[in-house]
Symmetry: C2
Subunit: 223 residues, 2 copies
């Protein structure tokens, strides 16, 4: 089906162009942005809920939440202390793209924030193919998803800058072969920055939040 | 972006046509087929592993496994006693479509089996939009995914015939509001046949397997 492939290429290149514009708009005001991706239910929203209070006294944070439907996630981000929370309903689309982020950015006074967290639609496949213009791609994996996920979703694991392994409090109750998981990650993305943590218990959260804070600081020094 | 919408419509209608042909081929030999869908890690493969031994003495079962990469799932289905296990690697696509199933069916001597289990790619969005020609759509949800999933992925929850709620053994360790989950399901798919169960402990499995066995029997009587 060559016609279909050609059309996908056109969409991607238009997307890349707009992602580039998004990046320029973010850079112009020194706003550091991360793209949070994961399976449905791995804990993206919980991570945002736990991260925001630990940054509240130091950074002003905006959140853009992508979902097929509802504003449940933006509501949770706002309740956790986001200075602004924008919900993007994709209306069926299985990922955010640069057009959608561009629309959300227009609703924000970008210069007021230090950090923008973009929460993508829960999906281990498609979001990896659509650049948004953010500075850092973060994948939230979770113990109950199983240890075979890097092997089965290589595109996602290959492309991210940071890997968070959430729900480590469930390790005692689940047969999760950590060496098999790590082997898959290591082949696809050697040396990727990794934070094992638990949003429910808080274990490991501080290491992630401090690392993120340092990233934002370094970015602002540069810009 | 009207051009893009038009192209998606073309693909879908070609897909529907081929799904119809798949259905005719299945019906011609009296082979009952189910389309198993879920998030990554909800437990589709584990459900197949636990279901097959309970049917082994009564039905001959073939499995078609869709994944971005690897043959891990087909290997597990074969080890659990599938009479045939075909792995379809989608090469990046985030769902199975009727073309891919058609290709897999050609590799099977369809008349030899009573039940075909098609395991779709782990994804709560796209597989819902691509009919395969199977007789029954089954969604595997799981406790650790969280209670908000019907609300956030309505397209998937709306379209399925059966809902399996897996990993109920983890209920004591996870904050899962069963009434919030059920409310979402009830709005989208009132009265959907539901089986709460646990693949790790086996609780609730028999009810699902016996229900499925009766479905296959009823289909074979008719055909």
């Amino acid at each position: 089906m060559p016609r279909r492939v050609a059309v996908v290429e056109n969409i991607l290149s238009a997307n890349d162009q707009l992602a580039h514009e998004n990046r320029e708009n973010l850079d112009a005001v020194g706003l550091f942005a991360i793209n949070l991706m994961a399976s449905p239910g791995a804990g993206k929203t919980s991570l945002i809920e736990k991260t925001l209070p630990l940054l509240a006294s130091r950074l002003s944070v905006a959140v853009v939440d992508g979902d097929i439907a509802t504003s449940l996630d933006a509501d949770r981000a706002a309740a956790a202390g986001a200075q602004a929370a924008i919900q993007v309903n994709t209306g069926g689309d299985c990922h955010l793209d640069a057009v959608m982020l561009s629309g959300a950015l227009k609703q924000l006074d970008l210069g007021r924030y230090d950090l923008l967290i973009v929460e993508n639609v829960g999906n281990l496949v498609c979001p990896a193919s659509f650049a948004l213009g953010t500075h850092l791609s973060v994948l939230v994996a979770s113990i109950p998803e199983g240890d075979d996920k890097p092997h089965k979703y290589p595109g996602m694991y290959r492309g991210v800058d940071v890997l968070i392994l959430n729900k480590i409090d469930l390790i005692p109750y689940i047969d999760f072969r950590m060496d098999f998981f790590n082997k898959g990650v290591e082949v696809l993305n050697p040396g990727v920055v990794t934070f094992p943590l638990s949003c429910p218990t808080g274990e490991g959260l501080e290491a992630w939040v401090e690392w993120l804070f340092e990233k934002v600081k370094a970015f602002r020094r540069k810009s």
